[in-house]
Each structure stands twice: as structure tokens, then as C-alpha cells.
């Protein structure tokens, strides 16, 4: 490491005689990519394998998706019949279909509720982690890690079992522990609203740890002196959070929120598996599941493609900020 700290390679200073007699100017700020080279064709060669795979499995299907979304493409076409071009007919039929708006609205509202709940609970958990003595912090971290590590499918199935109509622990505790007789054999998944309550619990339970750990890592960066100064000036805990901690952590809040929005909008596994356990599909489809239902299960690839393109556009718009912010922060 010692050679790296001199700033200039020895060969240069040896040639540059003047540098020895004149007082050393302040060393120029070290540029991160000081020694990055052009390298001719080597970098392109290194990129070939990754680019080939991405072109084949992302690029080409993306083009296919756009094409299919403008074609009449059903089961007959899968088995070889030539597809007919219908241009924007699929889009028109999707955008004039009440079902699509129901699904879209359901997805948006569900994602919004999940994101807000996750962010609020995650922030509170992070603040709690900060206040805990070491042992308890480790304990809580361990609990959250377990929740975070559960594969989404396993998590959904376990929660489905806990909410089971006949033998689920939740009904049992509500009836036997709290004396709420109306939960005797109560079905949580038949009613769409309580279906989404269960789905929301599963998603929030799995997502809070990520938010909590991320924000907690950020909290440790907020300088203690500033917080102490504010405390001496008489600022209460809430005021300190609003006026000091929050502005410090704003970028972290923004990025985690956007990631949550993206993940919750395209949620598939949890909804799909809960429908298997006992929900009514037609009343509980969200965008991701709906695409699957229309195209793979229903065989209408054209319409499914149009819905997929619309979904992708919505998500891309949401993530635009994230991409821009990341590029800026990483100084690409």
C-alpha cells in the first residue's frame, strides 16, 4: 500500500526535474480510475459471455413480447398456426376491459398499503434496534433474519397453515384465548379483503427486516453530536427524528421505498400460493398473477403480452428514479 500513497509513479517524478527544485504543489486529488486502461478489444471480449446470455434471455424475449402483444396469439399459434397481426387491438381490449382495471386498482392499493406499512414498521424497528442493549439487539436481529431468510413460498404456506380454517393456530387462539366465538372455523381466505390482509401480513413480515436493517445501518451514520446538540436545545425525540435523522437518511428512505414499490407491485408467489390454499382466484388476482392466468393458464398470449408490456412500463416508470439515483451515487 505504501507505493500507492505517493500519488505518482516514481518514473514520472524522475523525469520531471522541476518538481524536485520547486516546492511540491499539493498533490492532485487522486482519481479513482487513474490506472484504468483502454485495453483494445480485451474488455469487449470479457463482456461477450454475459452479453450473449442477456441478449438471448432478456433482449430477444423482450422483442418477442412486443411483437406478440400486437398479434392474435392463442393456443392454435402455439401449435404452429401463423399468428395474425392485430396491432394495437390487444391493448385496446385490455384497456377497455373492466377486469384489467379491477386487477390494476387492486394491485396499486395493495402495494400502497404494504409499502407504507412496511416502511413505517421497518423504521420503528430500526429505531428500536438502536436503543437496545447488545444482547437484545442480537436477539431481535436473529428473529428478523429468520423471517427474511424464509423462502417466500415456504413462508406463504406456513402462514396459510397458521390461518387454517379448522386447525389453524390463529383461529384457535382467537377462540380459546380471547373467547371470540365468531372465529370458530372462520375462513380467512374466502373473503377477498381478509385474503389480502393475510397476504399483506406475509409480505410485510418478510419485508420489514430488510427495511429495518437498511435504515438501522443508516442510523449509525447520523452524527451523535448533532443529535445531542438538538437534545440540549430542547428538541424531543420525535422532533429530533423529523428534523435531523430523517433528512440525513432521506436517500435511503427513498431507495428502500422504491424497491418496496417494485417488489410489491409485481408480487406473484405469495398471492399465487395463497390462492392455491383457499382464495378465489378471480377476486384476488394481482398484476403478476393476472398475466400468468391470462397467458399461461388461459392460453391467450397476445392479450397476456399486452398486459405484461403495460405492467413493465408502470414498473419502469417507478424505477426510473432509482436507476438515476444509483447512477449518480456510483459516479459511473
Amino acid at each position: 500500500m505504501t507505493t500507492t500513497d505517493t500519488g505518482l509513479p516514481p518514473a514520472v517524478s524522475a523525469v520531471d526535474g522541476e518538481r524536485i527544485v520547486t516546492p511540491q504543489p499539493a498533490p492532485p486529488p487522486k482519481r479513482r480510475r487513474f490506472s484504468r486502461r483502454a485495453g483494445g478489444l480485451t474488455p469487449y471480449g470479457l463482456l461477450v459471455p454475459a452479453s450473449l446470455v442477456l441478449a438471448a434471455i432478456v433482449g430477444w424475449p423482450l422483442i418477442q413480447l412486443l411483437i406478440t402483444s400486437m398479434q392474435e396469439f392463442g393456443r392454435a399459434q402455439v401449435f404452429g398456426a401463423p399468428p395474425t397481426w392485430v396491432w394495437f387491438e390487444n391493448y385496446v381490449s385490455v384497456l377497455t376491459d373492466v377486469t384489467f382495471y379491477e386487477v390494476l386498482g387492486r394491485s396499486l392499493v395493495f402495494a400502497a398499503v404494504c409499502v407504507v406499512t412496511t416502511m413505517v414498521l421497518g423504521t420503528l424497528m430500526a429505531l428500536l434496534l438502536q436503543r437496545l442493549p447488545k444482547g437484545f439487539r442480537l436477539l431481535l436481529s436473529l428473529g428478523m433474519l429468520l423471517a427474511w431468510a424464509m423462502p417466500p413460498l415456504s413462508a406463504t404456506i406456513v402462514w396459510g397453515w397458521m390461518f387454517d380454517t379448522d386447525y389453524g393456530i390463529i383461529n384457535s387462539v382467537l377462540v380459546n384465548g380471547f373467547g371470540l366465538e365468531q372465529f370458530q372455523q372462520h375462513s380467512w381466505l374466502i373473503d377477498p379483503l381478509s385474503f389480502f390482509l393475510v397476504a399483506g401480513i406475509i409480505i410485510v413480515w418478510g419485508a420489514v427486516p430488510f427495511v429495518a436493517f437498511t435504515i438501522y445501518a443508516g442510523l449509525t451514520q447520523v452524527p451523535d453530536e448533532v443529535l445531542e446538540a438538538a437534545q440540549l436545545d430542547g428538541a424531543g425525540a420525535f422532533k429530533r427524528f423529523r428534523l435531523i435523522t430523517f433528512p440525513y437518511l432521506k436517500p435511503i428512505f427513498l431507495i428502500t421505498t422504491i424497491l418496496q414499490i417494485i417488489w410489491d407491485l409485481k408480487v406473484f408467489t405469495q398471492i399465487f400460493a395463497l390462492q392455491d390454499i383457499g382464495g378465489i382466484r378471480a377476486l384476488t388476482n394481482t398484476l403478476g398473477v393476472y398475466i400468468y392466468q391470462v397467458s399461461i393458464a388461459g392460453g391467450d398470449f397476445g392479450t397476456g403480452g399486452a398486459i405484461a408490456v403495460i405492467t413493465a412500463i408502470i414498473l419502469m416508470v417507478v424505477s426510473l428514479y432509482y436507476v438515476r439515483q444509483t447512477i449518480k451515487e456510483e459516479e459511473l
Partner: protein, 300 residues
């Protein structure tokens, strides 16, 4: 990584002014009590999965709730692993292992090469490539599934492990490249130059100096890829629906649908078997998880 240390050690509690010490001790006790309750809330479903999997099915279908497997049994695991009447577990586990490990290996090699290209060289489309990697991560897999199905079908690779592996490599590649890029960036190129001055070739310098320093990063990134591929559900559901070609998540879903709500104990045993490798790996790399994600990498 900073997040690891942050989670494990954290910042020491600030010294409290004397007159408030009593109040602080009380509130610390209250927060600690709350944290125990919250720990239970977060950990309970995982515990409940394991607990149920060790109980006889007729017992969990009784009116009494058993918070502890007092009639401990391994029958559910036997059902999952050996019952010939059900979709077999072993082939699905083998499929999952083969697909996941191949995916991780191939993705790591490809991503490693790409990461060197974008960190150690300056070339025309460098920035474009990185931005593309970021944008690709944002395209929802659920939207792509229709056309990926058709492309793989066109190559006659539906219901094959190769087909699924190729798709998985593409799925984890952007994330892997992005994370590895960060790790390679963390090793100063000056170190390589020092080795080159001492007579190493450029490739030799990279291999002898930078590569060993990257090993932890490669392991962590590989584990992320493992978790992602192991848990992946939608793509496997669409591409490999034939029973002998299923991966574990699809197998678990089939098992769930076939047994309905009649054999929760066996379902929990299957679920536990699928979750254990992920939980173990997750606990190993947990610290890097947060920092990796915040710096732009995206989970599933």
C-alpha cells in the same frame, strides 16, 4: 462490510446525564421486553413450520394446540421422502441442486469477466453496459415469462434442466455483475500495478494479487445467486411443469395442491426441507445482504 459490524456491534449507547439515568434504565428495560415480544413474532412462523413438521398429522388436527412436539415423530419426513404415492421429493431436490449450482457457477464466471471489463478497462460502451445492467434488473420477470416460455419452447428446451439453467443464469447475472463490480472496485488497481512493476504480467498480477482479495466477495455473491435461484418459483412453474423435471418450489406447490389442507404436517416437513439450505446460507452472508442491496443490487 459496514452493515455486518453495524448489525452485530452497533453504536454504543450514549452516556446519559446523571439525573436521567434511572428513567433511561427503565425505558431500556421496556424496550428490551418489547424486543423479546417482537423476536417471538418474527421467529414464530419459522418455529411453527418446524414444530408442526415433527408432529403426527392426526394430532395437529385435534382441538388441542401443541406448542411443542411432545409426540415427536419423523413420519412426516418419511412421507415426504419415501412415500411412492406422491410426487417424489428426491428428483426435485436433485433438479434444484443441479440447476442452482450450475447457475451460480456459470453466472459467477460470466459476471466476473464482465466485472473486470467494466472496472479495469476504459472503453466506449462501458457506461452504457452498466446502465443496461441496472435497467434489466427493473424489468419484472412476471412480464417476461410469456415470451421466455415461447423462446425456450422454440429451442425445444421446455422441461429440461439446461433450459431452466440458461434462464436462471440470465436472471441472476445482472445482480451478480453489479455486486462483483463493487467488490472488484474495492481492490485498488494500484496493487496490481505494484505487482507488475515487480515483474508480474498483467494477467498474472490480477490472478495473484486481486483474485485472492476477491474470494470473500465471490463467495457472498455466489450465495446470493444460490438463494435467488433456489427460491425462484414463477419461471420454474412455467418452464418445468413435468413432474420429473420440477424444482423444489414447484414440487412443494404440487405437494400442497395434491394434499390440500388434509396433511399440513407433511407439507410443513417439505417446506422445512426446502427452507433449511436457504436459511443457513442467509445467516452466513446476512451482513453483506443489506449493504449489497442498498448499493443497487436487487433481490428477486
Amino acid at each position: 462490510m459496514s452493515a455486518t459490524t453495524a448489525i452485530v456491534t452497533g453504536s454504543s449507547t450514549r452516556p446519559a446525564p446523571g439525573r436521567r439515568r434511572g428513567r433511561n434504565r427503565l425505558s431500556t428495560a421496556l424496550w428490551s421486553a418489547l424486543s423479546v415480544v417482537l423476536f417471538a413474532l418474527f421467529a414464530f412462523p419459522v418455529y411453527w413450520m418446524v414444530n408442526t413438521s415433527f408432529q403426527p398429522n392426526n394430532e395437529i388436527r385435534g382441538s388441542e394446540i401443541h406448542f411443542w412436539p411432545d409426540n415427536f415423530t419423523l413420519r412426516n419426513y418419511a412421507t415426504v421422502l419415501f412415500d411412492p404415492g406422491r410426487t417424489p421429493f428426491a428428483p426435485a431436490a436433485v433438479n434444484s441442486l443441479v440447476v442452482t449450482l450450475t447457475t451460480v457457477l456459470v453466472a459467477l464466471v460470466f459476471a466476473f469477466l464482465a466485472a473486470i471489463a467494466v472496472t479495469r478497462f476504459r472503453f466506449k460502451s462501458r457506461r452504457g453496459f452498466i446502465v443496461m445492467i441496472l435497467v434489466i434488473q427493473m424489468i419484472p420477470g412476471e412480464a417476461m415469462i410469456v415470451s421466455i416460455f415461447r423462446v425456450i419452447d422454440g429451442w425445444h428446451l421446455l422441461n429440461t434442466l439446461i433450459g431452466l439453467t440458461i434462464v436462471y443464469v440470465a436472471t441472476v447475472l445482472p445482480f451478480t455483475i453489479w455486486t462483483l463490480r463493487g467488490f472488484v472496485n474495492g481492490v485498488p488497481a494500484d496493487l496490481e500495478e505494484a505487482a507488475m512493476i515487480d515483474g508480474c504480467s498483467r494477467a498474472g498480477a490480477f490472478w495473484r494479487v486481486t483474485f485472492p482479495l476477491l474470494a470473500p466477495g465471490l463467495v457472498a455473491t455466489g450465495v446470493f445467486g444460490f438463494i435467488q435461484a433456489w427460491n425462484e418459483f414463477v419461471i420454474a412453474l412455467v418452464l418445468n411443469a413435468r413432474p420429473e423435471m420440477m424444482t423444489l418450489p414447484v414440487w412443494l406447490r404440487t405437494f400442497l395442491v395434491a394434499n390440500g389442507t388434509t396433511n399440513w404436517a407433511a407439507i410443513m416437513a417439505g417446506s422445512t426441507l426446502m427452507a433449511i439450505p436457504v436459511i443457513v446460507f442467509f445467516l452466513i452472508v446476512q451482513g453483506r445482504m443489506t449493504s449489497g442491496l442498498v448499493s443497487g443490487a436487487v433481490k428477486g
